[in-house]
Amino acid sequence: MIDILQVLVLGLALGGVYALMASGLTLIFGVMRIVNLAHPIMILTGAFVSYWLFTLYGIDPILSMPVAALVLFVIGLVLYKLVFAREAASAKYSEMTVLLTFALAMSFDGLLGALFSNTQRVTTPSYGTQAIFLGDLFIPTAQLYAGIASFVIIGGLMLFLRYTRFGYAIRATTQNRAAAQLMGVNVEFVSLVTFGIGLALAGAAGSLVSFIFSFFPAKHWEWIAILMSLVVLGGMGKLMGTIVAALLLSVIAAFVGTYAGSTWSTMTFFLALFVMLLVRPQGLFGDRIEEA
């Protein structure tokens, strides 16, 4: 019994981090219909920011989260202006952006690889190797902190979307871009800032990733499919759906990993993606499919 509880807790903590990793992706897809394949490499960029701040100046990765988020926010604004703003009129916009973000992911992958080489890295704050025991329950401190930080950020994001004017604008643009524009929302500006926010979330997730996973630039290819599975399962662009999907799949993957070996735990995400795309492509919580 305690085993099951143990796996459940670890799965949930990791699920929180996955939810944060996927939240920016789903936000960007919701507002701009951009399937951002470059999202995972942006997470790694954030991880590298935190890694170097920790290695060079000893700044704790959780504290350096705002820095990573800010760096990625700026990168997001620049990329949006340079690459995506001009594509908005393209006929095969959605498909085009997939290829563009794929190329973007490759460029960043090569850049990070050339700068920092493809060796395994991990930040090692003092709590990285500790654990808390609750009775027989064993919780690694790093995952606990990462999980809590993720839930705090996601909570903040949801409050922001729910109760601020700009949050309204984002949600309106997600629901119906044309109608939002008619109601006086500056959708172009909303898109720009949302892309920035999306990447900032990736940066923040990167800081957490830097001490719970060992990472290297080429690792992001694996995450692309994992994060996509969460977004598809949650119903493309639905933030709440993505979070539920992240927690659900992460717990399932944790059980699969415990009882069938860690190789197959990654497989859970891919298989879930295939099954979902086939059986219910609009996702668990999606209500309609956009014509691509």
């Binding site: 399937v35 394949l37 690459v83 001009r86 594509e87 393209s90 095969k92 959605s94 498909e95 085009m96 952006t97 997939v98 290829l99 563009l100 794929f102 190329a103 973007l104 992911a105 490759m106 460029s107 960043f108 992958d109 090569g110 850049l111 690889g113 050339a114 080489s117 493809n118 630039p217 290819w221 694996e222 692309i224 499919a225 996509m228 599975s229 598809v232 190789t263 990654t266 497989m267 891919f270 298989l271 993606l273 295939f274 795309l277 086939l278 492509p281 691509a292």
Partner: protein, 344 residues
Amino acid sequence: MSTNLDVGNVLDARRQHDSSLAREKRAGRPLYVPIVLLLVLAALPALQLIGGYNYVLHLALYTMMYVAMASSWNILGGYTGYVSLGHNVFFCIGGYFSGMLLAYFGVSTILTAPFAGLAAAVIGFGIGLVTLRMRGPTFIISSIALLMVARILFDNWHFVGGANGITLPQLSLDARWMKIPYYYAFLVIAAVTVYTSYRIKHSKFGLGLRAISQDEVKAESAGIDTRFYKAFAFAISAFFVGMAGAVWGEYLTYIRPNIYLVILVAANMVLMCILGGKGTVAGPIVGTVLLVLFNEFFVATMGASELNIMGTGIIMMLALLYFPNGIVGTLAQKRRLPRFLDWD
């Protein structure tokens, strides 16, 4: 005017008119270009008689392999409009199929390559029936997922050597002649692929595929069996990629998941088509030559494969932003396409 028009005559006249137009177009097509190209490539190994030109041969062989793969990808990605970022799965299936036959029974992969292609095509048809139900971005995502699934399976499949792969026996030839059999194998594969791609583009089947890429719903309502057409295009495009994979394994003398199932191989196929011109016959060839030369230049001057990945990514981005139709496509649009590239 009488109401009972002779329908047969009208149709006949129209058919005659169409075929005379087609003949004119064919007569205008510079047939000598591919023939000269083939002859030059066939004669190239003669260089070995006067010295060691193994590097030149390797480069030509590598280019021909990618010409085959890019042209093959073009049948699905260019004509049909379904962009697959996981097409190297079939490269891998072909490589392992023939590689295992070579390792256990000693049959040369050059002989078994067509069967490897067939195996890839059968699996491709099956996968296609499933994944081609999605379209646009979702299909692209599913193709990446397919690649990841294949990577995990091959990495953990102990019968085929897992992540370490297996070594294949080498030909007992002098180093100078070692590359020749593979060179001609790839020449044949590339030539057949390009010819098939040309024939498909000019067939009713190809017309159906292009209709699907324009508007699938309308294509379906015009009576095209889109499901079968797409899956069949997927199978054909898997076939040639599988054949290339088969010979490539023996040429490298080992097979291992990380020579086949890396994203760069898939990206190369896509980029070559986009650079040269998606959906044109000559486009993948132009794109391949350019990209291979660029890669060699990059590796020779900077020497780092990481920078190579970055360069590939940046070129892909620039090509997508500024030449979404590729070199051949853009030139054709401006009616500036030189005759020797006009194979469409």
